[in-house]
């Protein structure tokens, strides 16, 4: 379990990015951490991974302060950052040098994932494209069997087939004891994968709900002009809106619409969940 309590953080003493942030992440979930650029998604992932320390409050990962960077805890954390640089060695060499640090590393799983991503142990890491490097890191990260996986914009740089491959692999690889946190601003890429959804804006968590709860409380449907919706935006085929679900029917969740709606009208949308 990952828990932050009254976590405050700022890159300078005067400007606070997070102020008394409380959040709990439980095993068996794929959390979607959504937010605009600069909202604090990457910083939150870094704090959870122990790469950045909170100014006050705490961030515990499986019961230990993440900032202590204990080997026993780090064995259970694997982070795939948005920007990375890999050494100029072959995949096989990288694996033989890094895998032994992870006690539960599954070489069979890695073999399967590399095949799935059309990579081989002989591939030189520095000669791979950005997307291929990302696939390799994903394969390596999933094979560590770490209980906490943190991915920062994992679909950036992936082509369209690779994005669906990414969703398929994630869904097939994760176990009930693992927590996956995916930070992204490309919400459409991860539809049907992430649950619950956490939306972060200006250092605050402004929305944190499961898919089930969202579709129970809200509907996403075309709306006519003049109809009062919690949020509506104009598309090619008219207006789409978010409405309180008063009829009990379930509509397909439009992640982008929800994100835009929450960012512009979080107060009213959150009130629907309180009722």
């Amino acid at each position: 379990m990952v828990q932050t309590e009254k976590l405050s953080f700022g890159y300078t003493r005067t400007q606070r990015l997070f102020e008394k942030l409380d959040i709990s992440l439980l095993p068996g979930n794929i959390y979607g951490l959504l937010g605009k650029n600069g909202a604090g998604k990457t910083t939150l992932l870094r704090i959870i991974a122990g790469l950045t320390f909170p100014r006050s409050g705490s961030c515990t990962v499986f019961g230990n302060e993440s900032s202590h960077r204990l080997p026993g805890v780090l064995q259970d954390i694997y982070m795939i950052p948005e920007e990375y640089s890999l050494p100029p060695i072959r995949i096989g060499t990288y694996v033989s040098l890094n895998a032994p640090f992870y006690g539960r590393f599954d070489h069979e799983k890695l073999k399967w994932l590399l095949e799935e991503f059309q990579l081989t142990s002989n591939n030189k890491l520095h000669q791979l494209s950005y997307g291929q490097k990302k696939k390799f890191l994903l394969a390596f990260g999933l094979s560590t069997n770490a209980r906490l996986l943190l991915m920062d914009e994992p679909t950036n740089g992936l082509d369209i087939p690779s994005k669906s491959q990414f969703r398929r692999v994630i869904a097939a690889s994760l176990t009930e004891e693992q927590i996956l946190v995916i930070s992204t601003h490309q919400v459409r890429d991860l539809e049907n994968l992430i649950d619950p959804i956490i939306i972060i804006d200006e250092g605050e968590i402004i929305f944190n709900q499961s898919l089930d709860s969202i579709t129970t409380h809200l509907t996403f449907e075309p709306v006519k002009e003049g109809v009062r919706a919690l949020y509506a935006e104009e598309g090619f085929s008219g207006y789409s809106g978010i409405l309180p679900n008063t009829s009990g029917k379930t509509t397909r969740l439009d992640m982008e619409l929800l994100f835009n709606g929450v960012v512009s009208n979080a107060k009213e949308i959150n009130q629907v969940f309180e009722n």
């Binding site: 870094r46 960077r69 204990l70 080997p71 026993g72 780090l74 890094n98 640090f101």
Partner: protein, 254 residues
Amino acid sequence: METNNIFSTHRLYLLIRRQVFSNGKSLLIALGGVSGFLLIISVLVAYFNPSALIGLTALYFTCMFIGGYIFTSNIFNEMHQIQKSYSFLTLPVSINERLAAAWLLTGILFPIVSLLIMAAIVLLANLIMNLTVDMAPFQSVFSPTSLKLIKIYVITQSLFLLGAVYFRKNNFLKTLLALIVVSLVLNIYTGLVGWALFGSLNSEGMHIDGNNISPAMNQLFTDYIPNMARFVFNYLTLPFFLVTTWFGLKERQV
């Protein structure tokens, strides 16, 4: 099984192996380049001016000191580059192991390898000398002076280890600059203290020597202070800089 969060020799071995093989190529190129240069110089000297061969030991050790300081300054490079730091800092190893791996590589293994390379170069140069000039005595790098120099290297490289953690870019040059500034400040300070204590004597045309200062003061300057300085250098410098490097590693963030 419970993970040892403080120190594991297995993880230390894995970390050293990772460090060596991840940067193996550039390490080998640098070591090969310097060794090749020294070998050519030594062979030429052995052939044309055999009597000057003994003087080359100073050049070998100068190369070892400078090379070792540069190697030490770059040992934590992975940690300072934002695109690489995440993999270094989230690697499941303790701070003790990070420090021990860096110190063993740069402070212990490096001088041992350097000494072995020097011995090989000297051996080769001696062989050439014996083939060309009949009289050549065998010279070795394994002497008490060499061991003393190695000890000085092990102690002084700890300063560069701290610089490797503390500075994010151009670590070697910045550490060197910091050392120059600190020694300048210390020299100015001791100069000022000396002037404050004995400046008036000088204006009266007197010179300080063993005849015009008290025996206690004489003992302080000739015995206590040099002994204390030797003690600080031999026994306190290395632990002090290793401890400060440990804290630097502990506090390092992305």
